[in-house]
């Protein structure tokens, strides 16, 4: 068995491969629960060197291998929205950019907004699609955005319209990282499960957004695929 182990800042994900894949996701602090079986561990994520492994590789590389496993289309860019950072991989130029200086454009920002409305982050998409219009939110700084949210509520916008506006502001923030000629992108990471974010991406960026069936485990699967491509055959 090959175990792709992706231990990030918020969640730990494992992909177990023998002749098919099985996945598990736990909190980062419980990553040990994921290695309860024997296998060759290929680690990735911020804690890739802190967990047991036979091989470690960055999540930039595993994202490329993982997306190629899940999607048959050749995307122009991969956007990996993590808890602590967002990575944009330009597939045409073999280049990447990262936003890791603040929560702007990361999963933490959406969690912050969900907490403000006393919602679970998984509920945001339902509110997004119930909006009749979108409240204009300019800031993706958590502090300034909350100030804007309060202003919009005072102006009479509904919770749905504000959450819709938040998703659009989030998409615009990440759009700054994308190469100008991107036409089709893959969105991965737990935030990609939020269909409101995907909708905002397509509308704001004018690009086709593909989301793998299990966007949160793409890097764990990518770690397995990386091992198969470079070690077993090499």
């Amino acid at each position: 068995m090959i175990i792709g182990l992706d231990v990030g800042s918020r969640a730990a994900k494992a992909a177990y491969y023998t002749d098919s894949y099985e996945y598990r996701i736990v909190s980062s602090h419980s990553w040990q629960d994921l290695i309860d079986r024997d296998g060759i561990i290929v680690s990735t994520g911020y804690f890739r060197k802190k967990v047991p492994h036979e091989l470690n590789v960055t999540e930039i590389t595993t994202a490329i291998y993982g997306v190629r496993h899940f999607l048959k289309e050749d995307v122009d860019a991969i956007v990996d929205i993590g808890g602590q950072d967002t990575k944009m991989i330009d597939m045409r130029r073999n280049d990447f950019r990262m936003n890791d200086k603040c929560s702007s454009g990361t999963g933490t920002f959406l969690e912050y907004i969900a907490n403000y409305f006393a919602l679970d982050v998984s509920e945001l998409q339902n509110f997004h699609f119930r909006a009749k219009t979108s409240a204009k939110i300019n800031s993706t700084c958590s502090v300034f955005a909350q100030s804007e949210v309060v202003s919009r509520l005072v102006e009479g916008y509904s919770k749905e319209e504000i959450i819709n506006g938040i998703h659009h502001a989030f998409a615009r923030r990440i759009a700054q990282m994308l190469p100008g000629n991107a036409r089709m992108i893959a969105l991965i990471g737990g935030t990609a499960k939020n269909k409101g974010v995907v909708d905002a991406f397509e509308k704001e960026l004018g690009v086709k957004v593909l989301v793998p069936p299990d966007p949160q485990v793409v890097n764990a699967v990518g770690a397995v695929k990386y091992y198969l491509a470079t070690e077993r055959d090499g």
Partner: protein, 313 residues
């Protein structure tokens, strides 16, 4: 002891029989977190002096061309009673401005008393340039070369000590995968070059440390003619021409642009990226730092991923 910040012609200070200490050398090892700061480099050396953790009799602040934040930090030190001189580089290679600044420096340091120091230090810097060649040829680790080149600013507080440090180096075979250039401010992080070496990246061109050893002269006039060409203080077009020549001569595979939070040089990133990444096709990564410390995990991740991209895995 005469404190200097960034690149001040140390040969002039030694020719005046003063000793120089580059205050920036203390910064990467400091754990002090200043409240009142833009750039951590100048804010930390300011506090080290004001708190008397580093003692200097006089201070020469580079306050134009190379570093602008240091101007106000220098004024705060001057207010505390330490005699301070503001050294200004010419943006357009104005030799008269350089000569005026050097004359002020000579006067500030008490007048030239040992003319021979110019030639002795020029010889030392020539040997440091040979060290730089060894690193470029892969016959010396970039860790050891960096130590010699970055110390070219103050000659380790003593030309004799600097000469012995150069003498102590021996050629070695350096194992690496790619030859990279570091452009911009030297990393404020401890162990940055060590980390690069651990992931197979050999720094074959270290822009600013190379400037620290590249300039010298056997008299005050020659010093002026050399330092007026200090690329990091002049306009960026001339700097980029010089850098591009170095990249080609040294067969550089990729570029790391190191920048510092709140430094005006940070705004140059897009110009450098357009020239070297978009036009010349060099793989290019930007790393930005703020406070000193060990190289953080985010920066390590970026650099490891950069190395993986270079390998095309």
């Amino acid at each position: 002891m005469l404190g200097i910040t960034a690149l001040v012609p140390a040969e002039v200070i030694y020719a005046c029989r003063e000793n120089a200490v580059d205050l920036n050398n203390f910064v990467p090892f400091s754990e002090f977190q200043p409240d009142d700061k833009l750039c951590a480099w100048s804010a930390i050396w300011r506090e080290l002096i004001l708190r008397k953790e580093v003692e200097v009799d006089k201070l020469v602040v580079v306050a134009g061309g190379d570093c602008y934040n240091a101007l106000v930090d220098g004024e705060k030190i001057e207010l505390s009673g330490i005699p301070t001189l503001y050294f200004i580089y010419s943006f357009n290679r104005d030799i008269r401005l350089m000569e005026e600044n050097l004359d002020s420096l000579v006067e500030f340091a008490g007048g030239i008393k040992n003319e021979k120091a110019f030639g002795e230090i020029a010889d030392l810097k020539q040997r440091a340039m040979e060290i730089d060649s060894l690193r470029t040829e892969g016959k010396l680790s970039s860790i050891k070369a960096f130590e010699i080149e970055i110390s070219g600013s103050d000659l380790m507080g003593s030309p004799d000590k600097y000469g012995k440090a150069i003498e102590a180096l021996e050629e070695e075979d350096v194992d690496f995968d790619y030859r990279v250039a570091i452009l911009g401010i030297p990393p404020i992080y401890k162990g940055f070059h060590e980390f690069l070496q651990s992931i197979g990246l050999h720094v074959a061109y270290d822009e600013m440390p190379f400037e620290f050893i590249r300039h010298s002269g056997r008299n005050l006039g020659e010093v002026a003619e050399s330092y007026v060409n200090y690329t990091f203080a002049g306009n960026i077009w001339r700097r980029m021409e010089f850098v591009e020549k170095q990249l080609k001569e040294r067969n550089i595979d990729a570029i790391i642009h190191f920048q510092q939070f709140s430094c005006h040089h940070k705004l140059e990133d897009i110009i450098l990226r357009e020239r070297f990444a978009d036009r010349e096709g060099y793989p290019y990564i930007t790393i930005e730092a703020d406070l000193p410390g060990s190289t953080p995990e985010q920066a390590r991740l970026r650099l490891e991923a950069f190395a993986e991209r270079l390998a095309g895995v």
